[in-house]
Each structure stands twice: as structure tokens, then as C-alpha cells.
């Protein structure tokens, strides 16, 4: 079936344990309401799976449908150049309905970023190329809408509703002595 190309590498934005049994990659769009829902679900998965999960994000902005998606992706990448990718990622999802340039600048300010640098990076070719490269890698990997998830390098076509997704991921964990209730 569809495989993640390229595989996770040093260029990727990742969160969690690099040696985790489960690598979960999301191709998403910051303006997509389904991705907003998925964001909240991923947060719970991260909490539930702890050190067993490595989560990565790649941009897949559907710019014709979501006019702010490209700019929002650029804002996350620009924050990433100051080491604050995930804070901006969360900020954008928490404010999906306010993604105008003025909003993006306000979020950067709230995160305490170097504003001059952020503004320059937001418009830079480097950032635009990075977003485009993510998009093309998604197209080549079989991403067919947002969000699309890959689990350990394979496209996940099942439900990403919390219960179904968590049950699916738990099956992938190595067997361990049963733990008591949390």
C-alpha cells in the first residue's frame, strides 16, 4: 500500500521518544477543520501512549480550499527556524479561525520570537520551499486529503476517531506485563 516517502529523517518536526515503537506522521493543513479535530485527538494519543509514540507533522496545505493554509504553514516553519515549531503548531490549531497575517504575527509575539527574523522567514523562499517539499512528499506517499496519517511508514486508512485509533495503535505495542489502571 502507500508508503511514506521519504521516511522520517532529521529534517522532520518530531515530538516524543525517537526510539518509540510507534511512529505516527500526520500530513495536515492548519485551516482544515478535520485537522483541528485530529489535533485534539493526537494530543490524547500522545498522553495515552507516552514514550511509545513518536509524532511528526508534515504540511499538506490545500491552498485553494483554505486561503490561509499556506501562510499558516509558513508561520509554523518560520517559528521552527527559531526552535519553536510545536508551540506555533499548537497555537495555530487553537486559533484556526484567526489566521490572518496580523494574527500570525501576534502568535509569534506571544511566543516571544525574534519578530524581525520571524517576519523575514515568513516570506522567505526557504520556508516556502520547505512547505512545498512537504506537500509533494505527501502527494508521492499517497496523501489524498487532510488529515492523512502514516503509522510506521504505511498510510493508515482506518478511523482516526480516538477509540478506534488508540485501539489500533495499542496492538502495535510490544507485549508487556499488564499495568494497573492509570
Amino acid at each position: 500500500m502507500s508508503k511514506l516517502r521519504p521516511p522520517l529523517g532529521p529534517q522532520d518536526h518530531v515530538q516524543g521518544n525517537p526510539d518509540a515503537a510507534i511512529e505516527l506522521i500526520e500530513y495536515g493543513d492548519f485551516e482544515c477543520p478535520y485537522c483541528g479535530r485530529a489535533h485534539r485527538i493526537v494530543k490524547v494519543l500522545q498522553e495515552a501512549l507516552g514514550g511509545d509514540l513518536l509524532f511528526a507533522w508534515r504540511n499538506f496545505p490545500l491552498a485553494q480550499v483554505h486561503p490561509h493554509a499556506l501562510r499558516a504553514a509558513a508561520a509554523a516553519e518560520a517559528a521552527g527556524l527559531q526552535g519553536r515549531f510545536w508551540e506555533m503548531h499548537d497555537m495555530l490549531f487553537e486559533h484556526q479561525d484567526a489566521l490572518e497575517d496580523a494574527d500570525l504575527l501576534a502568535y509569534a509575539e506571544a511566543l516571544g520570537l525574534d519578530m524581525e527574523r520571524f517576519a523575514a522567514d515568513l516570506d522567505s523562499d526557504e520556508v516556502a520551499d520547505r512547505v512545498r517539499a512537504d506537500f509533494l512528499s505527501g502527494a508521492r506517499s499517497g496523501v489524498n486529503g487532510t488529515p492523512t496519517f502514516f503509522v510506521n511508514g504505511e498510510r493508515y486508512d482506518g478511523s482516526w476517531e480516538l477509540d478506534a485509533f488508540l485501539a489500533y495503535l495499542r496492538v502495535l505495542l510490544p507485549e508487556r506485563p499488564a499495568a494497573g489502571p492509570p
Binding site: L62, Q64, G145, T146
Partner: protein, 156 residues
């Protein structure tokens, strides 16, 4: 059965707007991607076409134009394309219904719609790659890109 690689693609002339027909002949010398899908507005097609819409520059870089086909009427196509901001032509395989889909071997008689099928044609109008997806499953773009890139390699 869908036309196989190596087959000459049957010509067509279908309307994209009430007064504008498009034919296979119009694209002679250029690669073409033909995307047959069951219906405007259905959730799967919508994502599928949105992804292709974003990939138009990449398809063009690989020398290909994209055309969408369904049995919907022109006015339906116009409203759908406007709503989804599609930047490629949707052809209306409406009268006689599904004639082009039949010629390409991708018409579903029972439902009266086309399969979710993809064809990549070379500049001479020969099918170089074809794929029929299970109707509820979005085939994505990887197959199209691989087919176009494979043709690129042969050319160089």
C-alpha cells in the same frame, strides 16, 4: 474493463461550459491526465480533486494537463468548480450519458456513473497508465506522478 497501457485513447468531444467543448484532439502533443469520478459534490471526489488542484503546477512541470470527467451536467460542473476553486476543466459526459466513460471501459451501468478511474496519455494519445480505484476510495496522486515520471525517464 478499463483501457490498458498501449491502447489508443478514444477521441471525445464534451462540453466544459454551456458553449465550450473540449476534444482529445485539442491536446495533441501534450500529456493528459484523465480523471473519471462518479459525481460532483460526493465527499471522496471532493478531496481527490482538491489534491489534484494543488498539484497542477507539478503535473504541468511534468508536461501534463488534467481533465475531470463525470456524468454531471455543465451547470452542475460550473457550480462545483466555482465552489471548490478548481483550476482545471471538468467535462460533462452527459449526453449520451456516460458515452466517454463507456469508451474507456469505466462506466458502471447499474449506478449510471463512471468508475473512479485514472488514465495518463502521452502526446500521441496512447494510454500509458490506467487505474481503477475501488469507488469509495480516494486513489490519491502517487500513481499519476509515478507514471509521468516514468515517461520522463524514457524520454531523456
Amino acid at each position: 474493463m478499463a483501457l490498458e497501457p498501449g491502447t489508443r485513447a478514444p477521441d471525445f468531444s464534451l462540453h466544459t461550459t454551456p458553449d465550450q467543448p473540449l476534444s482529445l484532439r485539442d491536446f495533441r502533443g501534450r500529456r493528459l491526465i484523465l480523471a473519471f469520478y462518479p459525481a460532483d459534490w460526493s465527499p471522496v471526489c471532493t478531496d481527490q480533486l482538491a489534491v489534484y488542484n494543488e498539484l497542477l503546477p507539478e503535473f504541468r512541470r511534468l508536461g501534463a494537463e488534467l481533465l475531470g470527467f463525470s456524468v454531471d451536467g455543465v451547470w452542475c460542473h460550473l457550480a462545483f468548480a466555482k465552489d471548490r476553486k478548481l483550476r482545471f476543466a471538468l467535462l460533462s459526459d452527459f449526453e449520451p450519458k456516460g458515452e466517454v466513460a463507456r469508451a474507456y471501459g469505466v462506466y458502471r451501468k447499474g449506478e449510471g456513473v463512471s468508475e473512479r478511474a485514472l488514465f495518463v496519455l502521452d502526446g500521441e494519445g496512447i494510454v500509458r497508465w490506467s487505474y481503477v480505484s475501488p469507488i469509495g476510495i480516494n486513489p490519491g496522486a502517487e500513481g499519476i506522478l509515478e507514471a509521468l515520471e516514468g515517461m520522463e525517464r524514457i524520454k531523456r
